[in-house]
């Protein structure tokens, strides 16, 4: 499957639009491997390219691929161990599963010959013997490989010189691959190859359990040593190795560490499976706090910095969400500014801005938060006897919980935080503190520029193609992406009219209206109730989104669903503009299970309508509840198209992008 990937990306450019392909620079970096250059210029050489490492089995194999690989059947064998990771097929271990997916007959034949020599159990064991090695980061692996493989008898040394960078690049299973290919390059026949592997395997089999244990211990020790020694251990060449290799290794690091203690005898496939599973489990977000759970709420309150007073009349349906009165705690918090030592001032400032509503809008909030974290990381000093990676993660977590107290996180922010934490977790231990900090800061900068700013530009580029002369475009509320699209289309000289639909209590549309009219766009302004009146003349609806969920539901400013529904009823196409970093693997069917509640007082007070602001005497009445929903969920069938930085996709393709995006997380 992996072998099919690279040629496909070259041959079939259609896929490229959606972003299912490995970026070209990656393929190049793969090509620079000594093995691939030495082996042959044939496409299978790219097998070792990191597109294989990315573990993304997205491709629907085109029929001609198998014939592609047939001429060089050797490839399949080395490729198949790689595949073990990517195929989560069997839950229980069955050795035949190993190569069962291998399509070429030679692969199985070579395997057969291998088993003839070694036998199943051992052959699987030997892979495990190496599996801890994969867990170890580049430098330490090197150290352990050279110094502390006691009697393993495995001729790693033979490979080491030429192929270690490549082997580290992926996983252990690759380790035995390079010689194979090297052999092939030398013009070896299939039989020879089999012999080679057969030779290789029994040599490895000799590691017994005890030895493997010892090996792990040694590696752990080496890891610690490596950390202590810093990057000195690494040669000049290996620094490149780390920079390239960290990512794929990281993905499995934490999980495999756990695995060490669980079972060593487990097969590599099983391990790989479990790794994937664990990873997935880890990535499933913690269930959000349910505010109808009294004990937990109390616990949370004790920790809280922000003392929110609960709203007087909570809406029954929304007891599971926090319902606070707003606006009261701001002065209190400001006074605390200098007393709070555990929250970084930049983070504190952002929190206050969220609280007061000065910063709103998905992108703005996310950028503000990331920049605050960047500041915090810049000023961060690892306390003595603490691990930067752990301590910083804890620190960020505490910042995040402070921000949550100020205003519940948006999904995009959650994604950004997840990104940052994974970056911290995957920091190479060999880096010095200042280097690590610099790396993190540049990571944050890159996230902001690539995932938000550049993504917006790409979205604008895509969306503008959907605007024609004479169009009447409707938008709801104020979305930064939509605004950019409209302005860009106007700059391109397209003749169109904009209908801005707005709703209380935020009336964000007025701000957008002002900006657009200021730029000379022809605008029509109306309120959401009139949407079915105005929709008759509209040709396209452009909507922003706070998040796009895995079932295609668009989670956005409340009212978006109404607009999309009316557009759908009148057969007007609905285009949702959303950056891919806002996609989330959660699914949601209604707007009630998870939502955010705004300030109820904003509902009761209508600015400019004195005659209506008279709920005051009823404020104490338990009968009256004011509900200020912030978001709603638009069902996917109302949406014609989602415009994202990967291109324009139907809502049904969201899960694919979510999955791909998560892979890409590993690459950044």
């Amino acid at each position: 499957m992996d072998s099919r990937r690279t040629p496909r990306t070259v041959i079939d450019p259609k896929v490229r639009h959606v972003g299912f392909f490995a970026p070209p620079d990656r393929a190049n970096s793969g090509q620079t491997d000594p093995i691939s250059t030495s082996s042959s210029p044939s496409p299978p050489a790219a097998d070792i390219s990191p597109s294989g490492n990315s573990l993304s089995p997205v491709m629907i194999p085109p029929p001609r691929q198998s014939s592609d690989s047939r001429p060089i059947p050797l490839v399949h064998h080395p490729a198949s161990p790689l595949r073990r990771e990517s195929i989560p097929s069997g839950s229980s271990y069955n050795p035949s599963d190993f190569f069962a997916p291998a399509t070429s007959p030679t692969a199985s034949s070579s395997f057969a010959s291998m088993t003839a020599v070694g036998g199943y159990g051992e052959s699987s064991d030997d892979v495990v013997a190496l599996s801890p090695g994969r867990a170890v980061r580049g430098g330490s692996f090197r150290a352990s490989a050279s110094s502390s493989f006691p009697g393993g008898g495995f001729d790693l040394t033979a490979l080491k010189a030429s192929s270690v960078p490549a082997s580290e690049l992926t996983t252990v299973s690759v380790v035995n691959m390079p010689p194979v290919i090297a052999e092939k390059a030398g013009g070896a026949s299939v039989e020879m190859q089999n012999n080679r592997t057969a030779n290789l395997k029994p040599a490895k089999e000799k590691t017994t359990k005890a030895e493997r244990r010892a090996l792990q211990e040694a590696q752990r020790a080496a890891k610690a040593a490596a950390k202590a020694e810093g990057s000195k251990l690494l040669g000049g060449g290996s620094s490149a190795v780390t920079s390239v290799n960290v990512k794929p290794v990281k993905g499995t690091k934490t999980a495999s560490q756990k695995n060490d203690s669980v079972s060593v005898a487990a097969s590599d496939k099983k391990v790989g499976d479990r790794l994937a599973e664990k990873d997935r489990k880890k990535e499933v977000p913690q269930p959000r706090m349910q505010y109808d759970d009294k004990s937990r709420v109390d616990k949370a309150k004790r920790r809280a910095v922000v003392n929110q007073t609960e709203a007087r009349n909570r809406v029954e349906l929304f007891r599971h969400l926090p319902q606070y009165e707003h606006g009261t705690q701001l002065p209190d918090l400001e006074s605390k500014f200098y007393q709070l030592d555990h929250v970084h001032p930049a983070v504190y400032k952002v929190g206050l801005q969220y609280l007061s509503g000065d910063v709103s809008g998905g992108n703005a909030r996310c950028i503000a938060m990331l920049q605050a974290f960047r500041e915090a990381i810049k000023d961060y000093l690892t306390p003595p006897k603490k691990n930067l990676c752990r301590d910083l993660t804890a620190k960020i977590s505490s910042y995040v919980s402070f921000l949550i107290e100020c205003r519940p996180l948006s999904i995009s922010m959650g994604n950004a935080i997840r990104f940052l934490k994974s970056r911290i977790a995957k920091l190479p231990l060999t880096l010095s503190e200042s280097e690590a900090k610099a790396l993190l800061q540049s990571d944050i900068d890159r996230f902001i520029s690539e995932k938000i700013i550049l993504a917006d530009k790409v979205i604008v580029k895509h969306a503008v193609t959907k605007i024609r002369d004479g169009d009447v475009l409707l938008t709801y509320g104020s979305s930064s992406a939509v605004e950019m699209i409209l302005l860009h289309a106007h700059e391109l000289g397209k003749q169109f009219r904009v209908v801005i639909v707005d709703s209380r209590p935020k009336l964000e549309g007025q701000l957008l209206l002002r900006r657009l009219v200021g730029k000379g766009l022809n605008c029509t302004y109306t309120h959401i109730n009139a949407v079915s009146y105005i929709m008759h003349e509209v040709t396209r609806v452009f909507l922003g989104a706070s998040s796009v969920l895995c079932n295609g539901t668009v989670y956005s400013r409340v009212g978006t669903a109404c607009v999309a529904m009316v557009a759908h009823a009148l057969r007007v196409p609905v285009l949702v503009c959303c950056e891919a970093y806002k996609f989330h693997e959660r699914v949601q069917l209604d707007s009630i299970c998870s939502n955010e509640l705004g300030d109820p007082d904003a509902i009761s007070k209508v600015p400019g309508r004195v005659d209506l602001n008279s709920f005051d005497h009823l404020a104490s009445s338990e009968k009256l509840q004011l509900l200020n929903l912030i978001y709603d969920a638009t069902p996917s069938d109302y949406i014609s198209m989602i415009i994202t930085d990967y291109g324009m996709v139907p809502p049904t393709s969201v899960p694919v992008i979510v999955r791909e995006y998560r892979r890409e997380h590993l690459w950044i």
């Binding site: 709703s503 000379g520 079915s532 109404c562 709603d632």
Partner: protein, 417 residues
């Protein structure tokens, strides 16, 4: 008569300036005005009904033109015309029946004689109908026979009447007017009590712990909900505020003061909340003959959302809101755009508004429609003061209240009178 004209003019100005709001108030005042028009109207000896209808038509035409969107005015005018027809018909048939009875009692054995008066009674009724008929399709198309028919029938009617009962003529005239005024009084009574009659049915439609959503404010809805509350039902109400007038605030306040569990939401949250709602109950501005509803702005959205979630969409409408017309492009033709100041602050946006972009058309438009059209397929049920009805049944219900000949309210050409 001059003071009558002054009254009419005053009402016209009110309608034009939209000083009267709400179809109930309009309907009531229209009915009162027409009542006084009728009572002021001098009726000639012959063709009294025709004269009355002419007067009503003349006033009605002006009233309708003053505010064509306020369909209740036209409804009431047509109702009154229908009443006059009915009263006249019942009077004539009563008279003929009386004649018939007399003749029957006079000579019971004579079957030949018996046939003739019955025939003549039918003829009289038919003649009466044709005299009263304003330009309907038939009379428009068959101009000549109609013109000849009217004088003939009227003369013949006059002849027959002149023969038999010239004595009760004056009393009959007065009786017709009296009856019509009585009937109009009844109509006014109906209009003012339609809330109670609709509200009486509330308990049949609202069950315990129901969650009801409504948008904006309607007195009918308020009475309906309160009636259910008084019958000890406990239920919850979501009130969408109903921009740009925000009358939902008033409704919510009223409901709370009557002890109902009320939640006020923004209009935009309707879609989010409707999945937890059992029933949508709204008022209407007018109900068209096809079962479509002219409703306060925003209700089309609510109806669509309700349809999506299979929530019953119930419209409460007094009978004065039933309009015998079939709508064409009602979103535009039966709508009214209100002042943009309800949406935007003129001061804030004045610089944008004044900016003519060279070509003379301003950059900024503000659309603030008053009504929405809810097509009949989105309505689950109409509750009127006569009970619940399907949208598909509305045309029949409307046929009970209006005569098909009155659909176009227009002053009759002078030939009739």
């Amino acid at each position: 008569m001059p003071d009558m004209q002054a009254l009419v003019n005053e009402f016209l100005v009110k309608l034009k300036k939209r000083k009267i709001e709400g179809s109930q108030a309009t309907a009531k005042q229209t009915a009162e005005l027409i009542r006084s028009v009728i009572s002021q109207q001098r009726v000639p000896y012959s063709n009294q009904a025709g004269a009355l209808m002419d007067a009503v038509n003349a006033v009605g035409e002006q009233l309708i033109a003053a505010n064509p969107v306020e369909l209740a005015v036209g409804n009431i005018v047509r109702r009154v015309l229908h009443i006059i027809r009915e009263e006249y018909l019942s009077l004539t048939t009563a008279a003929v029946a009386g004649l018939n009875l007399l003749s029957v009692s006079d000579d019971e054995d004579d079957t030949e004689h018996d046939d003739h008066p019955v025939l003549s009674a039918a003829a009289v009724a038919a003649a009466a109908r044709s005299t009263l008929r304003p330009p309907s399709l038939q009379t428009l198309l068959e101009d000549v026979p109609d013109a000849t028919a009217i004088p003939r029938t009227s003369s013949s009617g006059g002849d027959s009447e002149g023969k038999s009962k010239s004595a009760d003529k004056s009393s009959r005239t007065r009786k017709l007017k009296h009856d019509v005024i009585e009937a109009v009084n009844e109509l006014i009574q109906d209009i003012s009590t339609c809330h109670e009659q609709i509200a009486e049915q509330a308990v049949e439609h609202i069950h315990q712990n129901e969650v009801i959503l409504t948008l904006g404010s309607s007195r009918t809805v308020l009475e309906f909900l309160c009636a259910a509350k008084e019958k000890k039902r406990s239920f919850r109400v979501f009130v969408a505020e109903g921009a740009p007038r925000y009358q939902g605030h008033l409704l919510a306040k009223e409901l709370v003061s009557r002890g109902l569990q009320t939640t006020l939401i923004t209009d935009s949250a309707v879609f989010a909340m409707i999945s937890r709602v059992n029933m949508v109950i709204v008022g209407a501005h007018a109900v068209m003959a096809n079962g479509g509803v002219i409703a306060p702005v925003g209700l089309n959205m609510v109806a669509l959302a309700a349809q999506r979630h299979a929530v019953p969409f119930v419209v409460l409408a007094g009978s004065h809101k039933l309009c015998p017309l079939y709508p064409h492009n009602p979103e535009v033709l039966l709508n009214e755009l209100r002042s943009p100041s309800e949406l935007l602050d003129f001061g804030e946006f004045s610089e944008c508004m004044d900016f003519g972009s060279g070509t003379g058309s301003p950059l900024l438009h503000v659309v603030n429609p008053t009504f929405d059209y809810v097509p009949p397929k989105l309505v689950s049920l109409f509750i009127t003061d006569t009970g619940g009805h399907n949208p598909s049944y509305m045309y029949r219900l409307i046929a009970d209240y209006y005569s098909a000949d009155d659909l176009v309210v227009q002053r009759r050409p002078a030939t009739g009178s």
